[in-house]
Symmetry: C2
Subunit: 300 residues, 2 copies
């Protein structure tokens, strides 16, 4: 599982091979899982984990040809319990077997010694049964540079990557991230500079760094400035679909090439059957295919 | 397990009953576990989880009379794998049986729908086997108010609490949290105001809110201003001991009474045997007792 190519080079190669920059978010909402996945499972956390595993594997199989990555949202697995984290370990292996990168969406962040433990949990190779492993992890920068450095060190050592929250897709992001600083710029602008600095040592062959940024698809007007501040960072672009972001507006992210961005949709793909009807897997495939074409057009 | 008393009232009652404001952090560092806990365990995540469970239960038994709460650091359990989260569920039950409150240190935070899943995972009552549950959880506010509100709603509904990161104990906190805003004040000052606002609806009998703040013991000079901005918030005060914070400097936190603060030490207690010699449990008990007396003196 260890790959000594940089994360940026791996992302670039995967996007070009698959001709896709689509990242499919897996945020399994138990109330909305199709009935079929519950067939024959016991009640309790282990049974629920089994149903979620079936559902996620079905989605992975359906979208694999159109996506370059999946992004499991750890919260939804943690809410079920430890058996769901064991299931997620297997789901990540299925995704990798299908040629997809795995971006674990955990938004972790802490003081140095604790960040090192999180990095070891999610970004270092692990033995079987030790939980899900990502090709990349989302991290929260509120604790500053010494809270981020262990994540950079571990991911870089193993050809993995990070997506640091810079400007998130939710309305409340303005409360903190858009605040103007007395020295000029904004909080998110300052963090963008930190991302560029941390990523400078991990820019691989394709000109794409192993330290990326989460930049919400809901605020496309900010993308040109963010791209200027972080010329080599891959952007994880959540918020397309359910949150209102439009793929057409994301072109500035792709200035450095196809690996400049991952267009991430979760509910819009996984719950597409609620809009399109038919089988969940077929609806997810159709929606992933539509998104792929739209987004790939931005990279040329 | 549901308690309709507010978290603040529960914290106040527990601190007065135990005459302690000491919170013992459980950050099990595998390389430093005493040899005895490894006796007879299998290799692999399940065996490691068993050793950690033994160690933590030993610490809980040793410190219970001197502490009011334990604070397991989720990262160290996640780094072992899902069996360690099952072990932590049992460890939390042991702590509650010993009369201790449980503060889960997970520093979670995300957009609204995902924060709701984290809140359900750690702050709502759950079935057996669904993972650790806390009386309180640490949360990260970088995503702003709509990322925090689901945590407030869930904790308030169940008599649980939150500790929102405001000014953390690490050096890099200055990078982001101490930044001056053009409208006056700092980033952490703005978040302090948000904590006060979110907590206003959850101030119980003792005048202590269910929305608290993480305020590092390493920057005691900031405590008076933080206390003024958040008059009813309980402060979680990490950084005593290994990180250099001194208990003697923390008096401003306790202006509203004994439940005004939790003095949190992790390595200083759990690894006290490395300094004091003797059995780990006895060294932890001695150090917890010393810290208890020192800290309780601040509350009078």
């Amino acid at each position: 599982m260890i790959d000594t190519a940089t994360f940026g080079a791996r992302l670039d190669a995967a996007a070009r091979a698959r001709q896709s920059v689509v990242c499919v978010g897996l945020d399994p909402d138990l109330a909305r899982l199709p009935e079929a996945v519950w067939h024959g499972v016991r009640s309790g956390p282990a049974g629920t984990a089994r149903a979620v595993e079936r559902f996620c594997n079905g989605i992975i199989e359906a979208v694999a040809e159109h996506a370059v990555a999946i992004k499991p949202q750890l919260a939804f697995f943690e809410a079920i319990g430890p058996p769901a984290l064991s299931a997620l370990e297997r789901i990540c292996e299925s995704a990798r077997a299908a040629g997809l990168l795995v971006v674990l969406d955990g938004k972790r962040g802490d003081i140095g010694s604790t960040s090192a433990a999180y990095a070891s949990a999610y970004l270092a190779p692990g033995v079987e049964g030790s939980g899900p492993r990502g090709d990349a992890l989302t991290v929260n920068p509120y604790l500053g540079d010494d809270g981020l450095e262990p994540f950079v060190a571990t991911s870089r050592a193993h050809g993995r990557g990070l997506f640091v929250l810079v400007r998130t897709s939710n309305p409340g992001a303005a409360d903190v991230q858009d605040q103007q600083l007395s020295g000029g710029g904004t909080v998110s602008g300052r963090l963008a500079a930190l991302v560029a600095e941390l990523g400078a040592g991990g820019i691989g062959r394709a000109g794409i760094s192993d330290v990326g940024a989460v930049t919400g698809a809901t605020v496309p007007g900010m993308l040109p400035a963010l791209r200027e501040a972080m010329p080599n960072a891959p952007f994880l672009l959540p918020g397309v679909g359910a949150q209102g972001g439009r793929v057409e507006d994301l072109a500035p992210a792709f200035a450095p090439g196809p690996a400049g961005g991952l267009v991430s949709a979760s509910r819009g793909i996984v719950q597409a059957y609620e809009q399109l009807g038919g089988k969940p897997e077929e609806a997810a495939r159709a929606e992933a295919s539509r998104l792929r074409e739209l987004a790939w057009g931005l990279t040329r």
